[in-house]
Symmetry: C2
Subunit: 272 residues, 2 copies
């Protein structure tokens, strides 16, 4: 069965998209075409949107599902005339919240919900810069400022995880690659020992690591299965010996790895 | 007025957090303490959660607001016994969706909703690597593989925007800094001319740029207001002359900038 889903917003569309994706993921047997349509903030854009919705309806032979977070009533009225099945996110929850909080929301007074440019902006940019500046062991003398230091073999997923934690939570995460040299000596580098409470380990299945390294350096010793297996085994042994908690990036998304690390290390988000 | 809000999930908590943040942002007069609690996936963790909720209720003198996306009914029953005011995200929307789709959701059969490790994972990692490898004009010979190329003065926000687009959408975005040399000659570098359809401009207020550069290189000519003002003016003139659409990063969040760019360039997300 084929269905089109639209995530429609007068802002970025991230709320409609995140909730919509989660809800649709519960229907595994249905093949959804998902379209995000941000900044539908005028009557003209709403009318063009209705045409898109209706042509998807005709093409699929079934009503598209609409997840929307639009504030303006005129725009909502136009979308409501489309062939779509509307899941009205704000309307569903704001009325009970208004009652509980005995307060009117900006929504009910027709104000937009821009994320705006607040203190979070600089906090987040600084976290991203921290991740980039302290990536791959490039710089170690700012580890006292780090919330976390990820350790693991080269190409096990440390950098994307650090960047995600910076973007999503404003967490300052450094990362340090455990290279062959560290493995021979079978101990933590001195620079990491000093910050042992901040360490978290990432590991990866040797098969997957071989494939990833092969993309970067085809047919190298670095990318060989034997080398990957050796490094992974030695590093996992090191984690166990040093009591460093670790997670296998082969089986989890970047979101899942990040959330698990924050729970395990008891680190709270910095973004408000 | 003070209130505590909990974003509770048996998974990453990102859906509960994103929707909860959006809804609470509509109540500007209330001071919320926001706590994300992912991986509440056992009866024991749920009981500990209830204690946290109840002590927040006692401390605040008002019911905490609970946004939850928990699937397991036993865990939900325990949370429902807390002092919190529950906003039950999945329950509200899945019943109407099941009816519309004439299909049972995993939720109603008690299955978890892991993001899992799908084709999105590699797509996203590759997009992040693309942004890193093609950051700051470091490499230009892969621009034919880019979905977008952001251009602008040094430190106007190009790198975080490229990384966000990679993480959130799987978009391959390169970025190229317009430096003083390019400004003197008052034209686009040849390497950018070839890919003019992929260009998008970022600009920034000179005040903000001065502050940001000052953090990196205090008291340098690079960070002086005169230099920042000159560069911004010249680059904005170049954008206008060359008909390159641009956006001012001073007034928008990274999410907003990214969503606006995708709309203007007509680029669709790569992540499913």
């Amino acid at each position: 069965m084929k269905r089109t889903a639209f995530f429609i917003s007068d802002g970025t569309g991230i709320t409609a998209e995140t909730l919509g994706q989660s809800l649709l993921a519960q229907f595994e047997t249905i093949d959804f075409t998902k379209l995000t349509r941000p900044y539908i903030d005028s009557v003209e854009k709403a009318r063009a949107m209705v045409q898109q919705i209706n042509s998807a309806a005709e093409k699929d032979g079934s009503r598209p599902i609409i997840f929307d977070t639009i504030v303006n009533q005129d725009i909502r009225d136009i979308l409501a005339e489309s062939e779509g099945f509307m899941i009205d996110i704000f309307a569903s929850f704001l009325a009970p919240l208004e009652q509980e909080l005995t307060s009117h929301s900006s929504y009910s007074v027709g104000k937009s919900h821009s994320i705006g440019h607040n203190s979070n902006y600089m906090e987040r940019i600084e976290a991203v810069n921290f991740a980039l500046d302290n990536d791959d062991g490039a710089r170690t003398h700012y580890y006292d400022k780090a919330d976390l230091i990820l350790v693991g073999v080269s190409r096990c997923g440390k950098t994307p995880t650090c960047l995600y934690m910076a973007m999503q939570y404003g967490i300052r995460a450094a990362n340090y690659p455990l290279t062959e040299d560290d493995m021979e000596s079978l101990q933590l580098p001195a620079v990491l020992k000093k910050h042992k409470d901040k360490l978290f380990g990432l590991t990866i299945d040797p098969d997957r690591l071989t494939a990833i390294r092969h993309e970067r350096k085809p047919n190298s010793r670095y990318a060989s299965f034997a080398q990957c297996e050796f490094e992974v085994r030695e590093v996992e042994n090191l984690f166990r010996r040093e009591n460093i908690n670790f997670i296998n990036s082969t089986y989890f998304s970047v979101e899942e790895i990040s959330a698990k690390i924050l729970v395990e290390k008891g680190v709270e988000r910095r973004l408000k």
